[in-house]
Each structure stands twice: as structure tokens, then as C-alpha cells.
Amino acid sequence: MKLKEIVEKLALEVRTKNVALDYDVKRGYASDLLSDVLANANEGDLWITLQVHQNIAAVAGMKGLSGIILINSREPEEATLRKAEDEKIPIMVSKLAAFELTGRLYNLGITGTGNAAKGI
């Protein structure tokens, strides 16, 4: 599903400017530990986190993630937005908590890293 559709369906608020939302998202990853994301997220994953620090943009850029959703209406820092715009990583804000947001994404067909399917 295109990121744009996800934004509409889950009433996300896009905070980055001039970053395209046409990535075709298939999977997601939820974590608040940067090293965990570096280790276990896959390229193209949509990242759900409560971290608002500018290093989330660097981590997302490093892994080639499709976007970052901040939960619980947490607002990104100004420096985070600027970095994300540099890296072309869209940052969105959701009013929902991680558990509920993840569930709704799953219902939209955005699944996890695929480890569950492999029986892990």
C-alpha cells in the first residue's frame, strides 16, 4: 500500500516537507532502540517509534526505511525534520499508541519483517 493511502486511512500527520509519500509499503518494524532497528529492520520497512531524536533520521537513512511514524502524538525535533528531509525519509505523527497503531497497520495488510511467517 502506498504511504499516501496509509497516511489517509490512519489520519497520520505528515511533518516532513517535500518528501514524497509514494513508497509502496509492505512491511513495518516497531522499536525504540536504534541498534535494534539497525540490526533487525529490513529495507523498505515502515518504522514505528517514540524516539524523536535526530538520529532516527540517520538510522532510517542507513537502513533505507520507507518512513517513520511517531506514536502518541510525539512531535519530532526541528533538527530531526531537517535531517529526515535531507535523507528523503518521511516522518508522520499518529495520535495512537504503538500497540494500537501497529494493529491497525496489520489490518491494512502491512505485516512484520516476515519472521513470523517463517515460524520464528
Partner: protein
């Protein structure tokens, strides 16, 4: 993704460029005394659909093929152009941003607008939608070429340099405890790898390893240095800090083991996965440390892709 990026680039450009950058300056113009019966030939020969009317360098009106048709329909009684031309001409100043031209052409549906000098109203040129498009295309092409040239130059460096062995060395200084700058070295490094034409998967592994190493220096030490060597066959990353040192390397290597303070963990760092992430990304890794002096980390990543995942050897 690209389309919107290009669009925003064009949006920037219409503000940066001036009307004078896009207009055509060798303008065909007619005098006010030119006869309407001569207009058809002038338009035909120059393949234009309208032209400014100029009297001693000053713009006095504009006449277009529409006015000519109207004149024909009204009986084609010959007269000077000044009797049929439009007098209240909308103009643009040459130093206005291009976006003004875009909006005026759009708003009033004109095919062209005369461009005049702000100080003396002298006719300098004419601008059409076609001229604007042409100029913007040229500009985006220049940008595109520049990045292509960067890439081309960098990716051919190994072929272009004559030597038995070529190694490119990058050196970076990492500040301790500076979480605003943390990660910048590795972000820049990843860009370098991409420009050098290194396989994206290998570049990513190297960038993640260097990121974790960089963060370790930021979190735990007072600063350090990173040296990255790129050779055709491998990338070597060498990180040295003047930190507290690691008391128990075995333990530090265990995923989840962390000595990072609580406030660092709240930022999402210090999860105790840095070293094990580095190990996962590296083909070779060696870690030596002296408590009270500092830590020295060496990582190698081989350029060849086949046979992943690589066997990891640790020779510390």
C-alpha cells in the same frame, strides 16, 4: 518519489531564476507606423504570432494575430498598426523572479509578455511559456549532470589512478558526548560509498558498522578518530578512542549487555547491541582495549558479495 522531488526543485528554480534568464532578447518588433497590411508578412517570415510595437526603443503596444484577424473581419481597411494595437500592455520587469512570469501568463491567458527594463521602460525581450519550460529543463539537466559527474568521477577513481594498488583513506574526528553530531560521520561515509559505486548492500553493512562504532565513541568516550580505507577488494574501518576502555570484552560483545547511562538509553541508544551489530555486519572484526586508556576497533568488509552471510572471525 523522484517526480515530487523534481517538482519541488522546479518550484525552487522559478523563484531563483529571473525573467531575464529565460526571455528571448533578440526580439522582432514593429514600429507604430507599420501598416496592418504588412503585418501578416512580418509574422509569417518570423514565424511568430504576435510582436511588440516599439517607438524609439520604448514599448508602446503589442499586436498579435488575433488583432490581425479582427482587422480582417472588420473589412481590412489599411491603417498603421498603432490604430489596432493593444496599448495597455501588461509587462514584466527583467529582474522579477520567473515565478511572476508563470503566474501572469497563467492568470491572463496570454501567450507572451514583453520584458522591459525597470528604470527606463526599454524593451529588452519577450517571454513565452515555451521559453520558461526550455530554461527550466536546461537548469534541471545541469543539476542532474553535476551529480552524474560526481558519481562518474568517484566511481572511476580506481580505474583512473595508475598504481599497483589504490587505497582511498577518509579520516574523521568524533566528538564525545555530542549526540547532535552523532551519526554524521557515518551518514557522510555512506554517501561516499555510494558515489564510489560500491555495491549498496556492502555500503549499508559498512555504514551500519561505522555508525555503531561512532555511537560507541560518542556514548562512552571523550572522543576519538575513525579512519576508513577503501580498496577495490575491501573496506577497512579503524576506530580509536581515548575512553574509559572495556573491562570485559567477552561480556561487552554479548547482545543486550550495556554500560550506557540511563539518559543515553532513553534516547534509544545504549541498548547493548552495538558491538554485536558490528560483528554481524563485518567480515572481520578485532577489538582491543586497555582500561583507563582507550579502545581500538578494527573492522573489515569484503567487496565480493557471494557466500553471505560471511563467517565471522574475531582475533582479539
Amino acid at each position: 518519489m523522484n517526480k515530487e522531488r523534481e517538482l519541488s526543485k522546479v518550484q525552487e528554480l522559478v523563484y531563483e531564476l529571473k525573467v531575464s534568464d529565460a526571455m528571448k532578447s533578440n526580439v522582432i518588433s514593429v514600429g507604430p507606423a507599420t501598416l496592418m497590411s504588412e503585418l501578416r508578412e512580418i509574422l509569417k517570415i518570423n514565424r511568430i504570432s504576435g510582436t511588440p510595437v516599439v517607438d524609439s526603443n520604448k514599448l508602446v503596444g503589442i499586436i498579435s494575430i488575433e488583432d490581425f484577424i479582427k482587422w480582417l473581419a472588420d473589412g481590412a481597411k489599411d491603417c498603421p498598426i498603432k490604430d489596432k494595437m493593444i496599448v495597455n500592455v501588461m509587462t514584466l520587469f527583467s529582474d522579477e523572479p520567473l515565478v511572476h512570469a508563470v503566474s501572469k501568463l497563467e492568470q491572463f491567458g496570454y501567450g507572451r509578455l514583453p520584458v522591459i527594463n525597470r528604470t527606463d521602460n526599454k524593451l529588452l525581450g519577450v517571454i513565452t511559456k515555451g521559453d520558461i519550460i526550455e530554461r527550466l529543463l536546461k537548469e534541471t539537466e545541469i543539476d542532474y549532470h553535476e551529480e552524474e559527474i560526481h558519481r562518474y568521477r568517484a566511481s572511476h577513481i580506481f580505474e583512473d589512478i595508475i598504481a599497483d594498488k589504490t587505497t582511498i583513506i577518509f579520516r574523521y574526528y568524533i566528538k564525545g558526548k555530542d549526540f547532535d553530531k552523532a551519526g554524521e560521520v557515518s551518514t557522510g561515509l555512506k554517501k561516499n560509498f555510494s558515489r564510489l559505486g560500491i555495491d549498496p548492500q556492502i555500503a549499508r553493512r559498512a555504514a551500519i558498522a561505522s555508525y555503531e562504532a561512532e555511537l560507541n565513541v560518542v556514548i562512552h568516550s571523550d572522543g576519538g578518530e575513525m579512519q576508513v580505507k577503501v580498496r577495490p577488494d575491501k573496506i577497512s574501518i579503524d576506530v580509536e578512542d581515548t575512553g574509559p576502555g572495556i573491562a570485559d570484552i567477552e561480556k561487552a560483545m554479548q547482545p543486550g549487555y550495556s554500560t550506557a547511562p540511563e539518559w543515553v538509553r532513553e534516547l534509544g541508544f545504549g541498548a547493548g547491541m552495538g558491538l554485536s551489530n558490528i560483528k554481524k555486519c563485518a567480515d572481520k572484526m578485532s577489538l582491543t582495549s586497555v582500561v583507563g586508556k582507550g579502545t581500538h576497533l578494527k573492522i573489515s568488509i569484503y567487496m565480493k558479495k557471494e557466500g553471505e552471510p560471511h563467517e565471522i572471525k574475531r582475533d582479539s
